[in-house]
Symmetry: C2
Subunit: 249 residues, 2 copies
Amino acid sequence: MKRVKLVVAYDGTNYCGWQLQPNGITIEEVLNRELTALLGEEIRVIGASRTDSGVHALGNVAVFDTDTRIPAEKLSYALNTRLPEDIKIQSSEEVDPEFHPRHCDSVKTYEYRIWNHSFANPVERLYTKFSYYDLDVEKMQQAGDYLVGTHDFASFCSAGSQATTTVRTITELKCFRDPEEPRRIRIRVKGTGFLYNMVRIISGTLMEIGMGLKAPEEMKDILLACDRSKAGPTAEPQGLTLVGIEYLP
Amino acid sequence: MKRVKLVVAYDGTNYCGWQLQPNGITIEEVLNRELTALLGEEIRVIGASRTDSGVHALGNVAVFDTDTRIPAEKLSYALNTRLPEDIKIQSSEEVDPEFHPRHCDSVKTYEYRIWNHSFANPVERLYTKFSYYDLDVEKMQQAGDYLVGTHDFASFCSAGSQATTTVRTITELKCFRDPEEPRRIRIRVKGTGFLYNMVRIISGTLMEIGMGLKAPEEMKDILLACDRSKAGPTAEPQGLTLVGIEYLP
């Protein structure tokens, strides 16, 4: 028996998120089905981040236990031949049997992307949120700076969260226009853990600040209020990508 | 009566190319249908570039004549509310009635993109060609340099072309890895005119050179041969984007 760690990339457009659910196809379901068929034993993956419906990933992480003799490094190739084009393994490796993708310390990087122009861009539509308001990225960055550090992020957590505490640590928040394509705004957030919908609520709030509906300084009050109703809307899922997860030694 | 110029962006994934045809929906068809419905008069657009099935555009150009009193600049907004998400007008303006998008002198910029990594990337799949061979971009650039200038590009023209001459001018050909994402190779080609499938055949040939199947110097012989069978394969359509068209005064 060995434990295998997969780095999984997917286009979330056509999936009801990561986690198994009765009413729609999910990434976890496809991985379980194809691993089970490939290895001839019942496989159940454990995912690091249970991304929402429509959210994308370049590097989500999953582990599973198997008796296979196929070397762990080869599994990515074998599995990819079975997976659909919108889910592809980026690497596979054997890990310590104690390794757990959610319980081990990690830094996750998310990116929320906005297409900010008078007109929507068809080739960006699946991976950005479109906004025709001229967003003030400097103000968004000013506001975002209040969120860096360890805080109670209850204002940025949707109802339905099973978290026992709403204290989380954001280690970095950068809001900038893409140097090559300034119509693309990128909100890059790194942290050791995130609440349900946290990055999308932060992004929705930053967009209100970018539009001038709220002053950057209000972000401080929103944070201190620990009240979801003070923050902005949950930004649409297709703008969000889980870029990667780095596990700390 | 006035002539209106549209800059049109589209995701070609779900279309049988630009040009009207009996067996599938095309960009031209959707524009004609929605302009006719919007303006209440029969509209037929004339397109600059009749892109193939699956090819994308950030800035194709179309013109049409209309009696409408709606200012030309406002038409983009009105039309976009009717268009599907994968076709969006980027600008509309009145132009001289003599302006013709194919007969007026212009420089077109195309980009062919390759995702060059051991594993395919789901969120790049619709807009790149995937290649797991480690491509040598320096050699591709060396080979591409032979194509810059005015040449007979018969070797890079698919059968079925209606062109009276196969002489064309490429003003620039740059082959490089994306500075931020080196797994993305971009072949950027500018020229005053292109033959049927020309950029895709050039890209397919450059990929063979990048793989080491052909030496960079062979590009010179391929060009001089004026024989389609000497060049590489026609690279898949989804990697190609018509970036824009600049009309010369």
